[in-house]
Subunit: 396 residues, 2 copies
């Protein structure tokens, strides 16, 4: 079980890890004082190795900085860095149609715009969290406008260009309802935007109805428009770290709704199945992809250990334990936490390595790229620190 | 050195490997007798695990079957299978604009069409090789028309939609001149299409001028329109197996042109540099990606051992040895051959595994997917068998 002693041990691991390691690493190395915005592609020691700027990470770092300012301490440095990011996003993040770019150059010229709306969702949580931190009304309105635009893109058939000929095959991804739950939770908890609860209800219902598959005891990454199982590489794909992330979004919602039992049971079911599918009994850690029918996956990195699924698993298991008191989740939390902390942290330059081989050896010394930035790790550290504080309060 | 004894040992490895293992594996499992065309996504034992049909592989298998029919034995089974593929390509491979689809469903409905012209190049070598095998004039003309269309797409600015905003950054890839060299060589050696020599000259000159970088002793995968070095993840990327493939295309051209010394030296330089960059001194085998400045790569599978770079290295080193008699290439050929044959072949169900971990352990039991099909391995087996026959003749 999660003893008081263990909780006392864990609290500083998360808190000090966040405040004395992760955050300084990015504040020291990521801020582009000449051209604005954040560098994200960093070598092990923080050296910038590619100056192109991914927009996901610009928004994510602003969300983090603003959230810490509002929930941890009103440090001027954090708010200034958040404003530094918001200024860059406002100047260089948007196309004329209101949609956002996916990557821009160091100077902010557009490189790529993608069909999906994920950049916009990170833009909107950045603006919402920044609105609270800065008390800037314009940011609040901008976040709400972006929320409306994203909702319109998602719910209007044909508005988002498809990758595959839609006359031949239509599929939809788990990532869309997931990101809408998480973003709506942020928009509700920061600026109390209208429509968040309805959006969350709709998206959780969609996941439960269309992506959760009892016949496989798994959550699929991609299904037909009405949840049809598509029996190919994409349709059989399970990403345990991703569905574990979905699980804690839903558990968070259950908690927000006074421990709503239906939501709690759905979140726990997803966590249980995904843990069983993803945990590597041979080497420990979470495998990246699995196949619903246990056929071979086609993505080359299917068996690698990425940092972020471990961040999600640490959150999900701790939250599940808080909500249920079930010893199983305390045990899983220890598994996920201990394996992650034994393998990912860089003892020399701080922060975490992102990509390990299946056996847990470091595959690349990279600290940041288009995907890995100041987000999953610090979000876990912040969320679990606050959760432990809450749990200590409950006991005390 | 490559002794007569070693050559006598190797010959049946390639020949029997091709005729008694690789080819039967695909003929037994890939042919879709109900809906036409070839299944490519196969499990270890040949079971079809995804019925979508990649067009690259349709064209590549037709090329192989037709080439074997013309150069090895006039087996009716091979020609029939080639026709089976050509019929599917003709019925379902082409869009109204003459361009080809990238993937189609089992029944041939289009799934994806890509901006690049690689599918068309595999279509064109399929048609050219089939024209010779079948003596069908229409296939010859169709191959020539496709060659013209591809050449027009490549040389007309703006005709191929760019992935990145071209106002911001323009880059070009090594893969385009490479595939044009290889395809032109096939079109010349099969149907003697007009314009092949000119295309080859232009593409080899472009590689030598724009992609070969003495300052890094490397061949880059992506450069600016005039060969400018782009100092980011993509611009620093080296794929040793890919540039080794380019090396043997150029060495093949040198041989075709009566051992043209300039081409031979260019091919050898590329081979030497790429071997040095790619060979893994720790575990053996060829690493997938390297960075020109030895910075970390961002692609997760950078250190994995894929089957096809080893196929290319076996060809390139054997051909370099034939052209130079340099013992170094005999040594490298032994390295590449022995490592590949110690790690890739599946002793139980035949053919090769495609994806190994850095240490040479099998990462997935998959035999075929959108990329791995009946091409690199049998091409190596065929090419090296024929090369050894030639070398035996030279000695005899």
């Amino acid at each position: 079980m999660l003893t008081q002693e263990r909780m006392n041990e864990l609290m500083p691991v998360y808190r000090d890890g966040l405040l004395c390691d992760t955050l300084p690493f990015w504040l020291d190395h990521a801020i582009d004082r000449e051209q604005g915005g954040f560098f994200i592609a960093l070598d092990r020691d923080g050296t910038v190795i590619t100056t192109d700027k991914p927009m996901w990470a610009q928004g994510r770092f602003v969300w983090l900085l603003s959230t810490l300012y509002s929930t941890v301490a009103q440090k001027a440095e954090w708010l200034e860095a958040a404003k530094h990011g918001i200024d860059f996003i406002r100047s260089h993040g948007f196309d004329d149609d209101g949609r956002m770019f996916f990557t821009v150059t160091r100077h902010g010229q557009p490189l790529r715009k993608r069909r999906y709306i994920f950049t916009e969702t990170f833009g909107m949580v950045a603006l919402a969290a920044y609105a609270v931190a800065s008390c800037e009304a314009q940011a609040r309105q901008q976040a709400i406008d972006l929320f409306d635009l994203v909702a319109r893109c998602i719910t209007t058939p044909g508005l988002l260009e498809a990758k595959v000929y839609p006359e031949t095959r239509q599929t939809k991804g788990l990532a869309v309802p997931m990101i809408m739950i998480a973003s709506s939770q942020v928009l509700r908890e920061t600026i109390n935007a209208p429509g968040c609860d309805e959006c969350i209800d709709r998206c959780i219902a969609e996941i439960g109805r269309d992506f959760v598959k009892p016949e496989f005891e798994a959550v699929l990454e991609s299904v037909g428009p009405n949840g049809e199982f598509v029996d190919n590489f994409d349709g059989r794909m399970i990403c345990p770290g991703h569905s574990i992330e979905a699980a804690w979004f839903i558990l968070h919602e259950s908690k927000h709704r006074h421990n709503d039992a239906h939501l709690r049971d759905l979140g726990l079911k997803i966590l249980d199945w995904s843990w069983k599918r993803g945990w590597d009994d041979e080497y420990g850690g979470l495998l990246y992809y699995r196949d619903a029918k246990d056929l071979p996956c086609t993505e080359y990195w299917h068996e690698m250990k990425f940092w972020w699924p471990h961040n999600e698993a640490v959150i999900a298991t701790l939250l599940a334990y808080q909500l249920t008191g079930d010893e199983k989740y305390a045990r899983w939390h220890r598994c996920a936490h201990d394996w992650a902390y034994a393998h990912f942290p860089d003892p020399t330059y701080g922060e975490w390595f992102g990509y390990l081989r299946r056996d847990g050896k470091v595959s690349t010394r990279l600290k940041g790229n288009m995907w890995k930035g100041p987000f999953h790790l610090p979000r876990m550290q912040w969320y679990c620190w606050k959760l432990l504080e809450e749990m200590a309060g409950e006991k005390g």
